[in-house]
Point group: C2
Chain length 303, copies 2
């Protein structure tokens, strides 16, 4: 019944006899607890988070539901291993486009060892983490029935520059995405990034919580942006969503806000807002050029 | 006519034959251009900033006015030296209480040399820069006619912990400040941190600009919080103010927000908000205990 996730865009994959997460058909995601303590730290985070009454209900939807842990045959054939049992957040999507964005301008935490800090710092400087306050850690983009998914390899993802990130955030919501250049039309931006239930509003709701919460500091945590182009264009479920994942390096906030996460989140918000406002401007331009009244609806159509 | 500034709380002091800034009686502050290029970088920043029409007028008040540069006798007797001529922002205050807060969870910039980064990182980890997203770089607190100023030495300031910072932000606005413990009454908080023209509102206005501006990244820049307790209690000028200073490490934003500064600023805002809301709660408690109706005005008095 258990199988390798079809839509995992970052992290260890359960292929070629390696250890990685598994999914079932009932919408659950099984993540092996890594032996170096990280797995137990992530489990401890989920347990603490689930029972913490200080976390408002409207924020919980940005986290996968956790169903505890379970002993399962590991994907690498090493025998029984404890797995974290989580909600499989992509299971309701048919052809999900997914971006995994690691948030923060540093991925290390103050209490870490010098060696660990130097290793993270080196990678943070090599990627866009330091310059942008976030980096893309993986993505897949559904381009259509014929071309299928665009899924850049790990090396390509790790070499993304600021320019690439800006361009990918446009390409991600374009109907001519396979071109992958500055001529991306961003025609899906109003319905995916925009609107009262769109990605931007969700990011802003999360931001408001991070301006206030001093419970947790989320180091090296990822924010997933996911949606299904077809259901978006039909106006049907599932809707575009953001989810936080990977909590092996969460530490106590001790009364201080997570300024590292918040700064990176604000930087991502600025990028997404720009794609959205550019797309609105070009919609107005299109309306004017087509000699219709220059008023555009929220989903970018002329009225 | 030139003299050593009376109220400089951080940076190089023009005493004991050393090089440092000077002030005159007409409200100007003369900062020697350091020979290693930092002085010229700061002058270049002021020139660029002054003429940049993208900077809104309501943001300019948070920066000292710059009057160009001038050749002057250096304070260390080394002869004529170029000085940056700035507005002396404390000249209108009689007994200024001042806090110099270096904003950001890193003080180094991505383009810096490895050596420079390691040196800054080491200090950022040793102080509250990494944990809080800011550190106090200097302060003076006017305690009254008898006790004068509390002005901790450089070593003491550098050893401030998160606990110390929280306590100092309370002590800073207390009438019983010389006690310097958790019993600080925060009686000045509503009139200094609070109100429509108070420190918190100014910080929030600056924050809104940092969420949007992608022109400059302010590395290792300081935010001064300054006020005069007596004029605040009399409701007379000058009013509490924040000012940004020290721009030798400002670099171009290149279309990205300054997430490092913004994150630290939000962390400072959270600390200041907490002092303010604690002081309001205790005012309500006082009102209730004094059997007056439990309604408190913005300046913390019972109504």
């Amino acid at each position: 019944m258990l199988k390798v996730p079809e839509h995992q865009v970052a992290g260890h994959l359960a292929i070629d006899g390696k250890l990685g997460p598994l999914v079932d058909d009932s919408g659950r995601f099984y993540k092996p607890l890594q032996g170096d303590g990280r797995g137990n730290k992530e489990l401890a985070f989920y347990e603490s988070f689930s029972s913490d009454t200080r976390v408002p209900d409207h924020i919980r939807k940005y986290f996968p539901v956790c169903y505890g842990s379970q002993l399962l045959e590991a994907s690498n054939g090493s025998g029984l291993l404890h797995h974290l049992v989580l909600q499989d957040i992509v299971s309701s999507y048919r052809n999900p486009s997914i971006m995994d964005v690691k948030i923060g301008s540093r991925t290390w935490y103050p209490e870490a060892s010098d060696n660990y800090i130097q290793k993270c710092l080196e990678k943070d400087r090599r990627t866009t983490t330091v310059s942008l306050g976030f980096r893309i850690a993986g993505l897949q983009l559904y381009e259509g029935k014929e071309s299928g998914y665009w899924r850049p390899g790990r090396k390509e993802v790790q070499s993304f520059t600021v320019y690439n990130v800006r361009s990918i955030l446009r390409r991600f919501v374009s109907s001519n995405s396979s071109i992958g250049n500055e001529n991306s039309d961003c025609s899906f931006a109003p319905s995916i990034y925009g609107g009262s239930a769109g990605i931007l509003e969700q990011l802003l709701e999360l931001k408001a919580w991070f301006e206030d919460q001093t419970i947790y500091h989320f180091h090296s945590c990822s924010l997933l942006i996911l949606f299904d182009k077809e259901s978006v264009s039909k106006g049907s479920a599932p809707v575009p969503a953001i989810k936080l994942i990977d909590f092996a390096h969460v530490v106590e906030g001790k009364g201080v806000i997570d300024h590292n996460f918040l700064g990176g989140l604000c930087s991502l918000i600025k990028f997404v807002s720009e794609v959205l406002s550019d797309s609105k401007e070009s919609s107005i331009k299109d309306c004017v050029e087509s000699e219709k009244p220059g008023i555009c609806t929220d989903n970018g159509n002329c009225q």
